[in-house]
Amino acid sequence: MSSFTLTVNGKKHTVDVDPDTPLLWVLRDSIGLTGTKYGCGQGYCGSCTVHVDGEAIRSCTMAIESLSDKKVTTIEGLSPNSSHPIQQAWIAHDVPQCGYCQSGQIMAAAALLSEKPDPNDEDINASMNLICRCGTYNRIREAVHVASENMRKKELGQKGGK
């Protein structure tokens, strides 16, 4: 057991865990943020996706010892009141069915849009290789495009207003 300090959703947490403990379990068991889900534990399915310094990573295979001084954002910290354009588009397009993978999908999509504000289908394919067993993929794709458009509209509006 060692002590680790990490910033999650803007708040500092100190946890006592083994150095190789995956971030997923620190988030869920030590800090109590259960929005991030266990799907496979091997970094394949993507249900556990969170942001580390703004980048989408799979928290089930990321050891806590490699995270000192990094900023972690989870689904709970993505936006106040689910106001992120991705979350809004997800609701508007009724994307989730069982919902279990969707925190991961949303975090992956949010990271994609911050890197590529106007992704095409190939970009989505390349960066959103997460499993949704309900098969909501075409809505995920649509919702990413809509969120991207809404984000750009908002940005244009803000620029125009200045």
């Binding site: 889900k37 279990y100 989505i124 098969g135 075409n138 794709r141």
Partner: protein, 781 residues
């Protein structure tokens, strides 16, 4: 289209607030539960010793079958499934011991200290071997109509063949999970990811040897189930309950993904044989089918699944003379179980293979042969089990879809492309789905509900169905709101709980909304009757001339009013406190059983289904014949859900069901080694469709203006039928493969059509083509 009513949990799903069982807050008393399972497919347990495991500090219980206070059984239908192995193990993954400890690591440490001595026995691991040794889970099932032997003799053409369809892993994102919390005395509170809380309750009561009224099972939502939690959610629940009972502390078992894949059953693989006679036009005259499924090591739902396969081996086609034999093989693999479609896909794959082969052998387009064999509207409309195909939508859907998908022009384009390209071939296929709705075990077609109205005018709906992502709770919320004539946000749907609605059937057979919707309506009707009577009195007290009659009181727009005197009205919410003052009960139970169905399993004759759901799908694929890599270029679907309760949800079910079917038909291949070890036990070896695998052009529509008689708000079931639409994708791939030899030779083909299957099929076709054209150069010589 009706305005979109989003999933009732949508805002919680996108914020991470939706609580699944693994997310539930439990105090520090919680222990981690673990199941220790057999490493051998077939062995005698000579001895075991877990005394060392028990000594580890922090390990609170290690249990074997000897520690089960009640019955060591968790078979849902037939009692042939031990909760913990006794004397023998019969598959890899069979539960042997249970451990409860303070951490996962301690559980694993304890597991390593358990010593077991085995005597290894010979396992049966294939359908072929099981058939050879007559290893069956029960007597074969039979259905028959007409005289197929005689008709086959007279038929101008006869084809024979066999079809192998593979297993499929459910891969619900939320693995099997259960949390048990002890109550006072013998009480136990169970939070289980189960499609069948009542059965979970029963089995826990039986393994613990306590009464059912001591056990409460609750499920808010599942993170996917797809049939995999219809019976096998019970397993983790029984194990967690035993550990909870032994330790008197809360215990949670959440399976690791690899363990889940190894332990749980899958979609049944089938080896089917067929002999089919047809005329020059391609009309089927007679068919003999033999369906053999791999049931695994115990019965589970295998016979109901086989029955549904046999009931769908006709799919949408009239076969005047037919015999069907179904055998469920007993092997040393985990007991196979329900999976969306429940045998239907395996039966339909045979029907579609037959029609596809007839078309190829006659040099005709398979669409033409399909249409020719559809059940008729007035004649040729009785199935091989005696049920008339009523409200047949096949022709309506076929005509619309062939037009909207531009099938015939695209067929020409595909042929032109194939004529020009040697290494890439395109394929196109249309396939129909006709799927019977109802549990074929007739008594299961019942449901209950408990509806409470509170003094502030809010409504709490309890029903027997479970939410697994299919949107059932959303639909029940809509049904209650519509029937009460109130706005949607007055209604909340409670977590499914066996103390609220008892003795329910599994949420399965796509019938969740049909059954529970009617039960909710029934409860609402009872409440409206009581409220209407009291409100009529209230109105009459104010305006006695003429008095308001209770039958004139209606509920609409969040108001209650006298339709003969619309000025007499009261807001729904304002009326509810008055109900309490007037001593009117605002709580009612509702009940429903599906009318006019009945089915003689022994004779294979009757009316098993309340109605049929129809759909059709056109798929176009591009196949790289050198690597077997295929791309879904375009998919057009037209599906019948009656008057949709929720078009957003229903379209999502059609899209998702199709994609899941594409997985079964193309990439999801399950393999075991020769010792019975599952080789494909993780997502790195088991390929589930991902976002890049969906059709490049995906057009999904619901058939419009087709109300369904005698169902809740004229709707139809949706969950399972769309999965089978994916057979068009499978046959489009086969169509591309057979283009390699200009469709002149029937390809060897199986399901799933993996890259390997495609490449081998292409190579085989090329060889046979050479043999056919120039036998003297044949490699066989």
């Amino acid at each position: 289209m009706k305005p979109l009513t989003p999933h009732e949990s949508a805002s919680k799903h996108v914020s991470g607030e939706a609580v699944y069982i693994d997310d539930m807050l439990v105090n520090e008393q919680l222990l981690v539960g673990r199941v220790v399972y057999s490493p051998h497919a077939h062995a005698r347990i000579k001895s075991f010793d877990f005394s060392e495991a028990k000594k580890i500090p922090g390990v609170h219980a290690v249990l074997s079958h000897k520690d089960i206070p009640g019955h060591n059984q968790m078979g849902p239908v037939v009692k042939d499934e031990f909760c913990l192995a006794q004397e023998k193990v019969i598959c890899i993954g069979q539960a042997m011991f249970l451990i409860a400890a303070e951490t996962e690591e301690l559980c694993l440490e304890a597991e390593r200290k358990i010593k077991v001595e085995y005597e290894i026995l010979e396992p049966i691991l294939t359908i072929e071997k099981a058939l050879e040794e007559n290893s069956l889970l029960g007597p074969p099932r039979k259905m028959n109509r007409g005289n197929p032997d005689e008709a086959l003799k007279k038929a101008p053409h006869v084809i024979t063949g066999r079809l192998y369809t593979g297993a499929q892993e459910h891969w619900y994102l939320e693995t099997q999970v259960c949390l048990c919390v002890p109550g006072e005395g013998k009480e136990i509170n169970v939070f289980s990811s189960t499609q069948h809380p009542s059965e979970t309750q029963s089995l826990i009561a039986e393994v613990l040897g306590i009464a059912k009224n001591e056990v409460v099972v609750e499920v808010r939502r599942m993170g996917g189930a797809f049939g995999g939690k219809e019976t096998q959610g019970n397993h983790a629940a029984c194990w967690a309950a035993l550990l909870c009972w032994a330790t008197k502390r809360p215990v949670k078992i959440r399976l690791f993904r690899d363990d889940d894949q190894r332990i749980t059953g899958k979609r049944h693989r089938f080896l089917s044989r067929y002999e089919v006679g047809f005329d020059e036009e391609g009309k089927i005259l007679a068919a003999k089918y033999e369906l053999n499924s791999d049931g695994g090591c115990a019965t589970d739902l295998s016979f109901a699944i086989m029955e549904r396969a046999m009931l769908h081996v006709d799919n949408a086609y009239f076969v005047p003379n037919i015999s069907v034999v179904g055998k469920v093989c007993k092997t040393n693999l985990p007991s196979n179980t329900a999976f969306r479609g429940f045998g239907g896909p395996q039966g339909m794959a045979v029907a579609e293979t037959v029609v596809d082969r007839i078309a190829r052998s006659l040099g005709k387009d398979s669409a033409e042969i399909r249409q020719k064999n559809f059940y008729g509207l007035d004649a040729n409309n009785v199935t091989h089990y005696g049920e008339t195909v009523e409200n047949n939508r096949l022709f309506l859907i076929y005509d619309q879809l062939m037009k909207s998908s531009d099938y015939w022009n695209r067929r020409k384009d595909v042929e032109a492309f194939n004529a020009k390209n040697e290494f890439f071939k395109k394929g196109l296929a249309v396939t129909p789905v006709k799927f019977g709705i109802s549990f074929t075990t007739t008594f299961l077609n019942q449901a209950g509900a408990l509806v409470n109205v509170y003094k502030d005018g809010t409504i709490l709906v309890n029903h027997g169905g479970t939410e697994m992502g299919q949107g059932l709770h959303t639909k029940m919320q809509q049904v209650a709101a519509a029937e009460f004539g109130v706005r949607l946000n007055r209604v909340k749907v409670n977590a499914t709980n066996t103390s609220k609605v008892p003795n329910t059937s599994a949420t399965a057979a796509s019938a969740g909304a049909d059954l529970n919707g009617m039960a909710v309506k029934n409860a609402v009707d009872i409440l409206k009757g009581r409220i209407a009577e009291a409100v009529a009195q209230i109105f009459t007290e104010k305006n006695p001339n003429p008095p308001t009659k209770k039958e004139d009181v209606i509920f609409q727009d969040d108001m209650i009013l006298d339709m003969m005197h619309p000025e007499r009205k009261i807001a729904f919410a304002d009326a509810m406190p008055l109900m309490q003052l007037r001593q009117v009960s605002l709580s009612a139970t509702g009940y429903y059983k599906t009318p006019n169905i009945g089915w003689d399993k022994e004779k294979g004759w009757g009316r098993p289904f309340h109605y049929f759901a129809f759909g059709m799908c056109v798929s176009e694929v591009l196949v790289d014949v050198l690597t077997g890599l295929h791309t879904l270029l375009r998919t057009d679907i037209l599906h019948d859900v009656g008057d949709s309760l929720n078009p957003g949800i229903d379209l999502g079910q059609v899209e998702g069901g199709y994609i899941q079917g594409v997985g079964w038909c193309t990439t999801e291949e399950i393999k075991w080694d020769d010792k019975g070890n599952l080789l494909t036990h993780s997502p790195d070896t088991y390929k589930i469709p991902s976002v890049q695998d969906i059709p490049k052009d995906f057009r999904v529509e619901l058939l419009e203006n087709v109300p369904n008689p005698n169902t809740i708000r004229r709707s139809k079931a949706v969950a399972e039928p769309p999965l089978m639409l994916a057979l068009s994708t499978w046959l489009a791939i086969k169509n591309a493969v057979s283009a390699v030899v200009d469709h002149e030779i029937e390809p060897e083909f199986s399901l799933p059509a993996t890259n390997e299957v495609i490449v081998l099929s292409v190579e085989d076709l090329k060889k046979r083509s050479i043999q056919k054209r120039a036998p003297e150069f044949s490699p066989a010589k």
